[in-house]
C-alpha cells in the first residue's frame, strides 16, 4: 500500500554553493544550445549542398 503523502515542507533557501552549482549548470546548458545552433547550421549546409545558393535574387 502506498503511504499517504505528507504535506509539503518549504525548502530551505539555496545556499551560495547551491546557487553556484545552478549557475554552472545554466552556463553548460547555454553552451549546449550554442553547439546545437552550429550543429544544425553545418548539417543543413551539408544536406542542402551547393543548392543552398540556388535561389532567386
Amino acid at each position: 500500500m502506498t503511504e499517504p503523502r505528507k504535506p509539503p515542507v518549504a525548502p530551505a533557501a539555496f545556499t551560495g554553493e547551491d546557487m553556484a552549482r545552478r549557475r554552472r549548470r545554466s552556463v553548460a546548458l547555454a553552451l549546449v544550445l550554442a553547439g546545437l545552433v552550429v550543429f544544425f547550421f553545418v548539417v543543413t549546409l551539408v544536406k542542402t549542398g551547393p543548392a543552398i545558393l540556388n535561389r532567386p535574387l
Binding site: 503511504e3 504535506p7 525548502p11 539555496f14 547551491d18 552549482r21 549548470r25
Partner: protein, 315 residues
C-alpha cells in the same frame, strides 16, 4: 521546466542542485561509448557510404538516444538503485538530480535524438532508434528487469541494436552484416553481465531483482556463462568468414574468443571464496575489452581501409 525542489512521500524536501556532470552521468557515458563504437562499426561495414558530417551527426543522435534511454532507466530504477552499492551513488539516489528533472531530461533527449536522426539520416534508422529507446526504457527497465531472470538476455537486444541502426543510416535498409554484429553483442551480454551479477548477488537480492544467480543459483549461472561464451566465440569469427572483416579481425576474434571461453570456464570451476570473485571480475573486465577490441578492429579494417582481405567462406 522542472521545479527547483520536490517533496518526497516521506516529507523530505529535495532541491535541484545538479550540475552538468550529474546530468551527463545520467546518460551512462560508458555504455554510450560502447554504443558509439558499435554503431560506427555498423556504418563502416555497411555496403555504401555517407558524407562524414552526416555520419558524425547520426552518431551523435544515436549516442544521445542511447544516453536518453539510460537516463530513463535511472529515473525508473532510482528506488532500487539506492539499495545497491554499485548504483547508490548515481545522481538520483544520491539526491543531486530530482526524479522529475531526470524524467524531463530523458524524454527530451529521446524525442530530440529520434527527430534529429530522422532529419539527418532516414526514417528507418530513426524508427529503430525510437524502438531501441522504448525497448531499453520500457520493455527492459519497467518490465523484464524486475520480473524474469532472463531480463538481461532479452534486454540485451537493446544494446545490440546500434550496429543495425548504423547500417540503416548508411543504406536505409538492414543487411546480414549488422545482423551478425547484433548476434555478437546479444550473445556477449549474458556472460558479461552475469559475471558481475555473481559478485553482486547480495545487492540484487536486497533490491529484489531476480538476476540469474539469485533466481537459478550460482551453479546454473556459471554453466550458462560457459554455454553463452561457447556460442558467442564462433559467431564473433563470422565477419571474417563472411568477407566483411580481414586477417587482423580473424586473428583477434579467434584469440580473444578463446580467452573469453577460458575465463568463463575459470568462473565455472572456481566457486568459492576470494578466488571465485577474482575469476568473475577477470571475466567481466576482459569481456569489455573483448567487445571493444572486436569492434575497434572492424572499424580500422573497414573504416580506414586497412584490411588484409580473406576469401569469403560463408554467405
Amino acid at each position: 521546466m522542472s521545479a527547483a525542489f520536490e517533496t518526497r512521500t516521506d516529507g523530505a524536501t529535495l532541491t535541484s542542485i545538479g550540475e552538468a556532470r550529474d546530468f551527463f552521468a545520467l546518460l551512462k557515458p560508458r555504455v554510450m561509448s560502447l554504443v558509439v563504437i558499435t554503431a560506427m562499426a555498423g556504418m563502416a561495414t555497411a555496403p555504401g557510404a555517407v558524407h562524414p558530417v552526416i555520419a558524425l551527426a547520426a552518431l551523435l543522435a544515436i549516442a544521445v538516444g542511447a544516453g536518453a534511454s539510460g537516463c530513463l532507466n535511472m529515473w525508473y530504477d532510482a528506488d532500487i538503485d539506492e539499495l545497491m552499492s554499485r548504483t547508490a551513488k548515481r545522481p538520483i539516489p544520491a539526491g543531486r538530480v530530482l526524479p522529475s528533472e531526470a524524467l524531463a531530461f530523458g524524454l527530451t533527449l529521446s524525442i530530440g535524438s529520434v527527430v534529429v536522426l530522422g532529419l539527418v539520416a532516414n526514417l528507418l534508422s530513426a524508427a529503430m532508434l525510437a524502438f531501441t529507446i522504448f525497448f531499453y526504457a520500457v520493455v527492459y527497465s519497467m518490465w523484464l528487469k524486475r520480473w524474469t531472470p532472463q531480463n538481461i538476455v532479452i534486454g540485451g537486444a537493446a544494446g545490440a541494436f546500434p550496429p543495425m541502426i548504423g547500417e540503416a543510416v548508411v543504406t536505409g535498409d538492414l543487411g546480414i552484416h549488422s545482423i551478425v554484429l547484433f548476434a555478437i553483442i546479444f550473445l556477449w551480454t549474458p556472460p558479461h553481465f552475469w559475471a558481475l551479477a555473481l559478485v553482486k548477488a547480495a545487492d540484487y537480492g536486497r533490491a529484489g531483482i531476480p538476476m540469474m544467480p539469485n533466481a537459478a543459483g550460482p551453479a546454473s549461472t556459471r554453466r550458462q556463462i560457459v554455454a553463452y561464451s561457447l556460442a558467442m566465440a564462433p559467431v564473433a569469427v563470422l565477419p571474417a568468414l563472411m568477407g566483411f572483416a580481414g586477417l587482423a579481425y580473424l586473428v583477434v576474434s579467434v584469440a580473444t574468443g578463446l580467452v573469453m571461453v577460458w575465463l568463463s570456464i575459470q568462473v565455472w570451476r572456481t566457486t568459492e571464496g576470494e578466488a571465485a570473485t577474482k575469476a568473475c571480475y577477470r571475466l567481466f573486465g576482459f569481456s569489455i575489452l573483448y567487445l571493444f577490441g572486436l569492434f575497434a578492429v572492424l572499424l580500422v579494417e573497414n573504416g580506414l581501409g586497412l584490411m588484409w582481405a580473406l576469401p569469403k567462406v560463408i554467405g
